[in-house]
């Protein structure tokens, strides 16, 4: 498991709709800010890169210092972004795919307004479990 990680889902309006700090490293507030800044900045690159490939998993698109941003873009242009410091690409890919499944289930909920914040605790639990499993 990666020592640092931050997982975020960004809606097609560039709004974060889900955030989770995953990873075993001690969570400092300052670091959490930094993670968000890096992920926010990576959106620029994703925006261009998403249209150059038909694959949903864009692999590592950006990096800063030792932190790498891997991105998975769904068909609806929702971006699953993971900030991590390990290089376990297969694990990340599986992670993304399973989170995508979960996200689709959220979308199927008639009470969920697409593009709004995901507040389901069940989703949160599942995502964290997946993070432990794959990352």
């Amino acid at each position: 498991m990666a020592s640092t990680g931050c997982f975020i889902i960004v809606s097609k309006n560039d709004i974060p709709i889900y955030e989770a700090e995953v990873g075993s490293a001690a969570k400092k507030e300052e670091a959490a800010h930094q993670h968000q800044f890096i992920l926010h900045a990576a959106l620029d690159i994703v925006q261009d890169l998403a249209w150059t490939t038909s694959a949903m998993f864009l692999k590592a698109v950006d990096r800063f210092n030792d932190l790498v941003v891997s991105v998975y873009v769904t068909a609806g242009h929702t971006r699953l972004m993971l900030l991590h410091d390990s290089r376990n690409e297969d694990g990340i890919k599986s992670f993304f795919q399973e989170v995508h499944e979960l996200y689709v289930k959220i979308l199927l909920n008639p009470l969920y307004l697409p593009g709004s914040r995901i507040t389901s605790s069940h989703f949160d639990t599942k995502v964290r479990a997946l993070a432990r499993k794959y990352l």
Binding site: D14, H40, D44
Partner: protein
């Protein structure tokens, strides 16, 4: 590392621009900006200044198309240790800038400039530009200019002059001269022709005197015949060197022109210097060193190599100079040689340098061409450059000498990126990420700074705003680490650039076009920009961090306005995420910043409070003229102009569309607008002044001062006066708070609320701060309100009458009309306050939907005004002049429970009516009255809500005791006037059989706490006087029930005391009231129909006596309207509650007590055989215990019956009969025939002998013979044959003793 590097950097001539003497910042900036326009000087334009002294080494210089490029280093720059390696790093010229008014002594200036130049040993040309010389300075510099003319030609002097007097004199007058006083006025370039003729046989100095001296005086010799110009400056022949050049005071354009000429001169001088340098280097060689070259001695082989290296390096440097001189072809030739030599000697560093130069030369040569082949070539060569720089990186050097070629590698990367930026985004990103990775290895912190600056800029060029912002923030952080105010200023400026990407822009920086597009949207429809702004808070973590950094840096940089604005934005947008301590910290940051600002400073970004439009004053049309009927005392009755229709089709049909209220204000009459202010933070907020902000200029707003407690809201009236005709636009309020003036726009808050409704923004400040402006009442809340009426007219009001109309009229419980009556006549200016009690009405389901739903715009609350009751105030004066404008301003004051009801109104001037009114008066003795319609603005919020009611029964058997003390106790209580101690205090000896409790479940969906009190109006009947004793149960000390917000609670109401004493037909008579005399309304006949009606009446009466009152906070209280709910709960079992059983039974120990004489005085619950707590007399086993059983007839007929008594043990076994009887008895226990007279009691005595101690239960039962209809109805039986069986409640007997 250096900022702003590009491939073309290699051909730029570096010029240090230094301020000399004291120069105000603004002037320096101004002069410098004029200077930096001349970055490019065409070779063609400098040919007139250029003199070829020797054969130029730049054989292929493109004189017609070439350019010299300058890079101005304003403020100078430190010497680079690498300037031998890359000649463009050298400062090749120095330009001083002097502002004459602040440096009076030019001599000093010159010295200072000379000193400053000493630091730039590599500078080849030095000039000091002195701007704006005063006349005195100019006088002083009036100098002799000597012109050596050694050309034997006839020529004319062409003078290009400023608008000044020029006096030209010729010394010695060696040639024919036509002296003329020339006065030149006008524009630049106005010229005079002085035809000078001289034979040229001798060399004569020509001396020209000019006054004032103009540095920009040029002589143009127009060679007659050969049309060729050459221009050269009149050199200052005085004591001064040629360094100081005075610029005459002139307009900007002229100065530009002068400057351009001077730059051309400098360019020419530099070119000549380059030629000299190259010639010298070619002939004698030069020593070139970099910090990279170690000090170790060289072996012989290495010496040869070193020689070759030196040659290569020299070639490379000559190439550099060729580039600087604008001759790429020459440069390329030298670079080729250099590359060859460097490769042979393995001098990778210089190889890379030469390669870089060659790329530059290539690009300069092909300037303006777009060629993919060229692009590939550049990319290929630059990648090679990067590789070679990397090759030359030596760990050893980096560690020992702290020199590293990494910065060159990064610079080369950045140069390539800048070149590729235009098209190859992906490649650029890749390169930039690599470059960013290099930051960690950079030794020098300022190198890292430059690197991040460059990366940010390059991402910005790509259009990657967020990436750019990210690196800009890194830059800011590096600046902040430097801990000095200049760095803090830089940090602040850099952060200001990131605000767009993080969507944090200050309103000041938002463009005008945006503001104008805002104007277009109306009707609650959002334009796209507003929608975008709603999403702003989504990256709130980032935004807060950036704002905090802006705040921090601006505090350090000493920019109070920026600090104020950042703190204001932070507080306004993110208060829900900031702790109260943090909020207070921000508040003090605001105050501190304001202390440093001049008073009256404006900021574009509003801070607190949040302000929204609440409502408008009533229309002028609501003050009507009413014709008075002199014959009627109450002239206002029926005077409403209703017409034949109940509803007029022309009245506003759609009250929901209150956005489009038509308001008409009258010039000169004060008007009021009601706004709601909210302070959602944890500190006291004082608004120093607030007033309506009006841009249309025809409105005079009156400021007022408000203070807001933490987390509170206030509704205030802002007044003003229209000053001229035309539409008045009020976009918001101007607020002076925290020492700064800001404008708060209503529209922004509306957008915010809309966003909050959609869950887009953090929270709705108006929701989290319930207002104390008493407009807001909970359902059922009762408040006292004062409505004050002021006569603002000029005649006394003689008559006035208040009536109610509109919806929910019954919510106005009382209006003290007497107060108004007694205050009449109301003199002009007099005021009367009328107490009014309002009980908030129930919300309908539709209201609840809209309250919880989308209707959250500021007008949302207003739309409910339709449900507010209207106050109709008719008033009149007595005299003719009553038709003159009267102004009655009802407003609301305060009573004990302070409440500001928010309705605002004012009388309007009669205008034309005044005239017609006056003429009417002549014909009719009675002047017309007026009618004012004022809505009572009450906003009802959902309060406690009722969930369900149900009936519970409780059965606790009583203990048999020795006495019947309750009689005494009751009677004494009644006599003394004291009240029963409690409604439900269960005495175990008394028991509680058949006690019914009404359970109400209430929930509290609001965000305040409610205290519930149940009160039941009791009636106790006493036979003696037949009077009704009504007790308010709330005085029983019955505890309050508190319901916290979002909780529900159950309240129990005991229905014990409702049993009627007598069962007879009187209950079934329609109009009988239970508190009326029961005995008098005696009736023996009843029908089924009557039964129902009577029961309903009784139930209604019962329900009306149950009151659930609530209180919330100090000032809110009211009553819950739950009659219907109780009715439905009681419907099925009302009979059981209300009607007594026909017979009641009771047991008593007869041992020592004398039966009281007034047995009939037993209270209605006859089974109460309670003993006082002290005398819990128990029964001993093995002892004969006498008992008495009482049977009471509750009907008005004689009842014949057979009584039986049984005794059961704890197991429920009959212990009197049977083989295992444990009780022996004396007397009759079963089949006792008795006749009980109406409302009388009969006792029957018997004795029991308990063999075994323990708990026993005594039960009495009776079978009624010949039951009448009443009894049958009570027993709910229809069959006349069925026996009616009555069973008494069980009584406990505790037997103690040894077995």
């Amino acid at each position: 590392m250096e900022p702003d590097v590009s491939v073309e950097t290699g051909c730029m001539i570096r010029i240090a621009v230094l301020p000399v003497g004291a120069i105000p910042q603004a002037h320096l900036r101004d002069y410098a900006s004029m200077l930096v326009r001349h970055r490019h000087v065409d070779l063609s334009s400098i040919s007139s200044f250029y003199t070829e002294h020797q054969k130029s080494p730049f054989a292929n210089q493109p004189w017609d198309s070439g350019t010299l490029r300058f890079k101005f280093m304003v403020g100078g720059s430190p010497l680079s240790p690498w300037e031998d390696f890359q000649s463009h790093r050298k400062i090749l010229a120095v330009i001083g800038i002097c502002h004459c008014p602040s440096s009076p002594d030019l001599q000093l200036v010159e010295e200072e400039f000379a000193n400053a130049c000493k630091g730039y040993s590599s500078a080849l040309v030095k000039r000091c530009f002195a701007f704006c010389p005063a006349d005195s300075q100019v006088e002083e510099t009036e100098a002799l200019m000597v012109l050596n003319v050694a050309v034997k030609l006839e020529f004319s002097v062409f003078l290009q002059l400023e608008d000044c007097d020029v006096q030209i004199d010729m010394e010695k007058r060696m040639f024919k001269w036509y002296p003329r006083m020339i006065v030149l006025q006008g524009q630049l370039g106005s010229a005079i022709m002085l035809p000078l003729h001289f034979d040229g046989s001798e060399c004569y100095p020509v001396t020209l005197w000019a006054k004032p001296l103009l540095a920009m005086l040029w002589l143009a010799f127009v060679l007659v015949g050969d049309i060729h110009y050459f221009l050269f400056p009149l050199e200052d022949g005085g004591r001064r060197g040629d360094n100081l050049i005075l610029f005459p005071p002139a307009d900007h354009q002229t100065q530009q022109f002068h400057l351009q000429t001077m730059m051309q001169d400098i360019a020419a001088s530099l070119l000549m210097e380059f030629e000299k340098w190259v010639l010298r280097a070619e002939s004698s060689g030069t020593i070139l060193k970099t910090p990279l070259d170690s000090q170790t001695s060289l072996s012989s082989e290495e010496v040869i190599k070193a020689k070759k290296r030196r040659l290569g390096r020299a070639q490379k440097t000559i190439g550099d100079y060729c580039l600087l001189a604008g001759s790429p072809v020459d440069a390329n030739a030298h670079y080729s040689t250099a590359l060859e030599l460097a490769r042979l000697t393995g001098d990778f560093f210089w190889y890379a340098g030469a390669l870089e130069g060659s790329v530059c030369a290539l690009l300069i040569d092909r300037m303006g061409q777009k060629d993919p082949v060229l692009e590939d070539e550049v990319r290929y060569r630059y990648n090679s450059v990067i590789v070679h720089y990397r090759k030359s990186f030596m760990q050893d050097n980096a560690q020992r000498w702290k020199v590293s070629t990494l910065s060159f590698e990064l610079e080369a990367t950045l140069k390539l990126v800048r070149f590729l930026c235009r098209e190859h985004a992906k490649e650029v990103v890749e390169l930039l990420m690599t470059a960013a990775d290099g930051a960690k290895s950079l030794i020098d912190a300022s190198d890292r700074l430059i690197l991040f600056v460059e990366i940010a800029r390059l991402f910005g060029t790509l259009g990657y705003q967020r990436k750019a912002a990210f690196f800009a923030r890194q830059v800011a952080q590096l600046y902040m680490q430097q801990d000095d105010s200049l760095a803090a200023i830089s940090a602040m400026q850099v952060l200001a650039m990131t605000t767009k990407a993080y969507r944090l822009q200050s309103r000041a920086t938002l463009t005008k076009s945006l503001a104008s597009s805002d104007e277009i949207s109306d009707g609650g429809k959002l334009n796209p920009q507003s929608v975008v702004t709603l999403f702003e808070s989504q990256w709130s973590t980032l935004q807060m961090v950036v704002l905090r950094e802006i705040l921090l840096s601006s505090v350090r940089a000493g920019d109070p306005l920026a600090a104020w604005s950042a703190a204001a934005r932070l507080l306004r947008s993110y208060y829900p995420l900031i702790t109260p301590a943090g909020q207070s910290g921000l508040a003090s940051a605001l105050t501190n910043a304001a202390d440093r600002l001049p008073s009256g400073t404006r900021s574009a970004d509003p801070a607190l409070p949040f302000i929204r439009l609440h409502s408008f004053p009533v229309h002028s049309s609501q003050v009507d003229i009413v014709k008075r009927n002199p014959g009627r005392e109450e002239w206002w009755l029926g005077s409403a102009p209703s017409g034949p229709f109940i509803y007029t089709p022309f009245s506003k049909g759609d009250p929901a569309d209150s956005n489009k209220q038509e308001l008409i204000w009258i010039v000169g009459e004060p008007v009021q607008v009601v706004v709601e202010l909210v302070n959602p933070c944890g500190f006291d907020l004082t608004v120093d002044s607030i007033y309506l902000s009006v841009h249309s200029g025809n409105f005079d707003p009156f400021p007022m001062r408000v203070s807001l407690a933490p987390n509170s809201a206030k509704v205030i009236k802002l007044s003003g006066m229209p000053t001229s005709m035309g539409p008045v636009t009020i976009p918001g309020c101007t607020v002076h708070c925290f020492g700064v003036i800001t404008e708060h726009l209503f529209k922004e808050v509306d957008n915010l609320l809309l966003g909050a409704a959609q869950g887009l923004v953090l929270s709705d400040p108006f929701r989290c701060c319930g207002g104390d402006g008493g407009v807001i009442l909970f359902e059922g809340e009762i408040r006292d309100v004062l409505i004050s009426l002021t006569n603002a007219g000029s005649v006394p009001v003689e008559q006035a009458h208040i009536s109610l109309s509109g919806k929910n009229q019954d919510s106005v419980i009382s209006v003290v009309y007497e107060t108004l009556k007694s205050a009449l006549p109301l003199k002009p200016g007099a005021e009367v306050a009328i107490p009014v009690t309002i009980k908030a009405w129930q919300l309908s389901t539709a209201d609840l939907d809209s309250a919880g739903g989308k209707n959250t715009t500021s007008m949302g609350r207003l739309s409910k005004d339709g449900s507010s009751p209207m106050l109709l105030i008719h008033y009149a004066g007595t005299t003719v002049s009553a038709a003159q404008p009267l102004l009655v301003v009802p407003h609301v004051g305060a009573v004990a429970s302070i409440m500001y009801i928010c309705f605002v109104s004012s009388f309007r001037s009669l205008g034309p009516w005044a005239q017609s009114g006056a003429t009417d008066v002549n014909s009719s003795p009675v002047p017309p009255g007026r009618r004012l319609v004022v809505p009572l603005h009450v906003c009802v919020l959902q309060g406690l809500s009722f969930v369900k009611a149900r009936l519970l029964s409780m059965e606790i058997p009583a203990h048999v005791s020795e006495t019947l003390p309750c009689l005494d106790k009751k009677s004494s209580n009644l006599i003394s006037g004291a009240k029963p101690d409690s409604l439900v205090k269960i005495d175990p000896y008394r028991g509680s059989w058949g006690l019914r409790l009404l359970e109400l479940e209430l929930s509290n969906p609001t965000d305040v706490v409610f205290d519930i009190r149940v009160s039941v109006q009791l009636e106790n009947k006493m036979k003696e006087d037949q009077s009704t004793f009504v007790v308010d149960a709330s005085d029983f000390g019955y505890p309050e029930t508190r319901i916290d917000r979002d909780y529900s609670a159950r309240v129990l109401i005991p229905l014990e005391h409702f049993k009627l004493p007598i069962l007879d037909g009187s209950f079934f008579i329609k109009d009988s009231k239970s508190d009326a005399n029961q005995g008098s309304s005696r009736s023996s006949s009843f029908s089924e129909k009557n039964t129902k009606a009577e029961l309903n009446a009784s139930i209604k009466n019962l329900i009306s006596r149950i009151k659930v009152k609530w209180q919330s906070g100090r000032s809110s209280s009211g009553e819950l309207n739950i009659k219907d709910a109780i009715l439905s709960a009681l419907q099925t079992s009302a009979m059981d509650i209300l009607l007594p059983d026909p017979l009641t039974f009771g047991f008593k120990l007869a041992k020592s007590s004398i039966p009281p004489a007034d047995i009939v005085d037993l209270p209605k619950e006859a089974n109460i055989l309670a003993v006082p707590p002290g005398s819990k007399g128990s029964i001993l086993a093995h002892e004969m215990t006498p008992f008495e059983v009482f049977v009471r007839n509750n009907t008005k007929e004689m009842i014949k019956m057979k009584l039986s008594i049984t005794c059961r043990d704890v197991a429920g076994e009959n212990c009197i009969d049977g083989s295992k009887a444990t009780v022996i008895w004396a007397g009759v226990l079963s089949g006792i025939s008795m006749e009980v007279p109406p409302l009388q009691e009969i006792k029957h005595a018997f004795s029991l002998y308990f063999l075994v101690p323990g708990e026993y239960t005594l039960v009495a039962a009776a079978v009624i013979d010949d039951a009448n209809d009443i009894l049958r109805a009570r027993a709910k039986t229809n069959s006349p044959d069925e026996p009616i069986f009555c069973r008494g409640p069980p009584f406990h007997v505790k037997v103690i003793g040894t077995a």
